[in-house]
């Protein structure tokens, strides 16, 4: 027996939309069985995971907050992945962005007088720092042909350790009993809240704007076309005269900048100080979000929301049903695998053919 993949001539919009939905259903089914085995009613689990988080204003805000950095980073990554460039170091670019922007907040702590410039300067610095950090693997690839997959991944750990060192050492709050965290930022260095209850902050708008902008660029501009062409057919792109080096640098700049911006938005929005870790793995989750969303900005936005819902639902399940966090993790892993698999069915006709494997 062998598995044959026959490319479909045209991807129908219907199947493209249906396949993740089916994958989701399959994951819920498997998850339901697991939950039942643990002695919990699957219906109750489904309600707690997926319905309750969507039926309450507070958790809707939290979903938006959780989804915003994921969508922002994943949108940036989509530029890379469309061009077949594998930046998997967004986590590092996120951390460096948060660190660099945070340093400005700490340096200006307690400033009297005009402070209106601090927040924009932080956002700009964070973006540029993420961008610059992404330039390392990009330049290594362009100039020396070094695999960007591995260098970008390695740089994640370097960035995390750098932040750890800075938060425990030079940036430590002098009045904080030597505990490893910086001063809490002044209000001038914080993103404003959008709604009563001090939950939803302006970072969500930043992310939304970035996703919209990306949708325009990818869909309507020559640059977006170049990206897609390079990814689909590097040879054709070369014939058309598109510089591969320039595109590589551009794609990394965009994804690094987006991740850096997400980092400083998280620090200036939710956290409000620097600490040894500032990311619960957003940079890696965003890679998955980018693929779940099929590298399209709108899809990414949806995918980020789905991941956010399962995370917040997972917390509710721990509280209300005593379901362990590991179950949520396993479920997320399963869901991603199934969505990736289902995606294949929209691109190919999958057939089991008798005969030796080829």
């Amino acid at each position: 027996m062998r598995l044959d993949l026959v490319p479909r001539g045209r991807r129908s919009a219907l199947s493209a939309a249906l396949s993740p939905a089916l994958a989701f259903l399959a994951a819920v089914l498997v998850g339901g069985i697991a939950v039942a085995l643990m002695g919990v009613s699957p219906a109750a689990a489904f309600t707690v995971y997926f319905v309750a988080p969507l039926s309450d204003l507070w958790s809707l805000q939290e979903i938006a907050l959780k989804a915003a950095p994921l969508a922002l980073i994943a949108t940036g990554l989509a530029f890379c992945y469309r061009a077949n460039l594998w930046n998997i170091g967004a986590e590092g670019q996120f951390v460096v962005g948060g660190l660099a922007g945070g340093i400005i907040a700490i340096a200006t702590h307690g400033t009297e007088g005009a402070t209106f410039w601090i927040l924009p300067a932080m956002l700009l610095t964070g973006t540029l720092a993420g961008l610059a950090y992404a330039m390392i693997p990009a330049l290594l690839r362009v100039k020396l042909g070094v695999s960007e997959i591995l260098t970008s991944l390695m740089l994640v750990y370097v960035a995390e350790l750098l932040l750890d060192y800075m938060a425990r050492g030079p940036l430590r709050d002098p009045a904080g009993y030597n505990f490893p965290q910086s001063v809490t930022f002044d209000d001038a260095a914080r993103l404003p809240y959008l709604m009563e209850g001090d939950t939803l902050h302006a970072g969500v708008l930043v992310a939304l704007a970035a996703v919209l902008l990306a949708a325009l660029v990818l869909g309507r501009s020559l640059f977006g076309f170049e990206m897609r062409l390079v990814g689909a057919s590097p040879r054709a792109a070369r014939f058309a005269g598109f510089g591969e080096a320039r595109l590589t640098l551009m794609a990394f700049a965009i994804s690094g900048g987006a991740a850096g911006l997400a980092g400083i938005v998280e620090v200036a929005g939710k956290i409000g100080q620097l600490q040894p870790t500032i990311s619960p793995g957003y940079g890696f989750t965003a890679i998955i979000v980018a693929f779940l969303g099929r590298l399209s900005p709108v899809g990414i936005l949806l995918a980020a929301l789905v991941i956010a819902v399962t995370t917040i639902g997972g917390e509710a399940a721990q509280i209300d049903l005593r379901l362990p966090l590991d179950l949520t993790r396993a479920f997320q892993g399963l869901l991603l695998g199934l969505v990736l698999a289902a995606d294949v069915f929209t691109r190919f006709k999958v057939r089991l053919v008798p005969g030796a494997a080829r």
């Binding site: 350790l161 997320q332 695998g337 990736l340």
Partner: protein, 308 residues
Amino acid sequence: MSLDLIQMVLATVLAAATPLVIAALGELVTERAGVLNLGVEGMMVCGAAIGFAAAVESGSTLVGALAGIGAGMALSALFGLLTVGLAANQVASGLALTILGLGLSGLVGAGYVGLKREPAPHLHLPVLSDLPGIGRLVFGQDGFVYAGIALAIGVSWFLWRTRGGLILRAIGDDHTATHSLGLSVRGVRFLAVLFGGACAGLAGAYLSLAYTPFWAPAMTAGRGWIALALVVFASWRPARVVGGAILFGGATVLQLHAQASGIGLPGQLLSALPYLATILALVLLSLGRRRGGSQAPAALGRDFTPHR
């Protein structure tokens, strides 16, 4: 330094390098076939959990090690089905595998927290193991260490001395050409993925059965990622994997020794060294390549569908 101290340090380095060697050799074979499996950490931690659980239930370290291998293979089979069978993206699938593995290991291991087993037995030969200076180092390790060394030799022999190895490397370098020659690209890749999973599972089982004989959540503590770095650092060559693992393991162990004897360095810098070293190795490799040195498998990470 006395001879005994040197031997003890070297024995520690060897033990620290073993899980890295085993996991990295598996990943090396997978990558040589052109598949990038980023899920090493997930397979390793599952190998640790399931290996420990099986060893407790059966009372046998060997059964535990086999169960660890089985767990790694089962997860890698899922990965292989996705990426080799269905041509799904390897990077995303590998990350999904990591999350799945961490979750599953926690679920399986929950019942085994706080239990302990005797560590896997060490070899003891009547005269040889008591030789001063080298006896314990060479003749007094546990079975996993010898398995790791045998694995390195075996993989090296297979890749460069057998027809199968040649085919595997050819597929990793150019799947389209090998496919048109009538070779089973996907079959070989799937087997390579399974081998990688088996090794990662065994490496995880080593941690929970021999190195620190208990189960604790996320006890692999990032060793799967180091193994990935190591493959690149070693420029996809088994002997260099062993050398690199000893270097990585040695750096950690030696810095602990340096601290114990009163010389301190910032821990973060030392922890960052393996990653920085890998980047440096990549750069040097690519400079070397211009003079005809070795390089990464050309088809690494690119998916393949026979009808393209």
